[in-house]
Symmetry: C2
Subunit: 192 residues, 2 copies
Amino acid sequence: MPKLWNETIEAHRRAVRDAILDAAWVLVAEHGLTSVRMSRIAEETGIGRATLYKYFPDVEAILIAWHERHVADHLERLVELRDRVGDAGERLEAVLEAYALICHRREHRGTEQVAALVHRGEPAARAQRQLIGLFRDLLTEVAETGVVRDDVAPDELASYCLHALAAAGSLPSEAAVRRLVAVTLDGLRPPH
Amino acid sequence: MPKLWNETIEAHRRAVRDAILDAAWVLVAEHGLTSVRMSRIAEETGIGRATLYKYFPDVEAILIAWHERHVADHLERLVELRDRVGDAGERLEAVLEAYALICHRREHRGTEQVAALVHRGEPAARAQRQLIGLFRDLLTEVAETGVVRDDVAPDELASYCLHALAAAGSLPSEAAVRRLVAVTLDGLRPPH
């Protein structure tokens, strides 16, 4: 087959896959994890049940794929903020704030069941390592500008950031999240 | 019955209960959660099986009680450090370091199964609230001395501390834990 045709098939498969993930997510958000069936997902996506099973074996696999895509989107957004042109300190602040807001919105979406399902296993661990790596690289770069302390290794500071910002999950407002980001950033500054 | 007699019985019951918790914990640490039976716990404690069942219905209940006692001991230790005579800033540092070391040792004990069992439900949630309360009270007190920032509310700072210090669980050494405490403390100081 010509290359173009293969690409078209690939794009089509990706579009169907995305539509399945979106449909499953909408159904889970509306009706809860346990009441969503494969047949309902096929119907909502506008495909046959047999086609759906060519993509995924069960609802759990769909939700895990949804979460992987969701995490990949978040990582992409954070990488984009990190790699922007401009002052390293400002980029650090932008990444910290974006991550804190992700934590904040996650806890407010009321999807604890799904979280318990997807926050284990290798994909989740890999995403966590990528996140740590992203923070570590940025902190290493920023440390050279003197904006960030150099008496603690960047990977230890990265772990501090990720844990501290996770507090955003239990904060009541985005204003409180921004205060948390300011406090966390002050911990990163060179000591007086 | 005279009061003294009641107190003696109460003390005896408490001693038996403590011995059961200790025995169960030793067995779980040695053999793993799933291979520990009630009969083995009774044997290790030096009591009959029937007596054991008067105290606890199953292994899970014993481990939950063990964890409650364990958490209560930790809280007591933190309260004791908080209430010492002396400089408020130093007491804050002592409490932060003690809590970080608790997190550090917890993750290094290899008791993930037990953690999954006990870190849910009302007693765990109550302990978490007590911990937040302890940090908040101390931060409120210290804020008055000017050692801690007053542009963020003490309960938000308490949540920041607890989350940031939980990073101690994945740190490789106590030296790294002390660096984490220093970074976390710097986040609490009045901004330059």
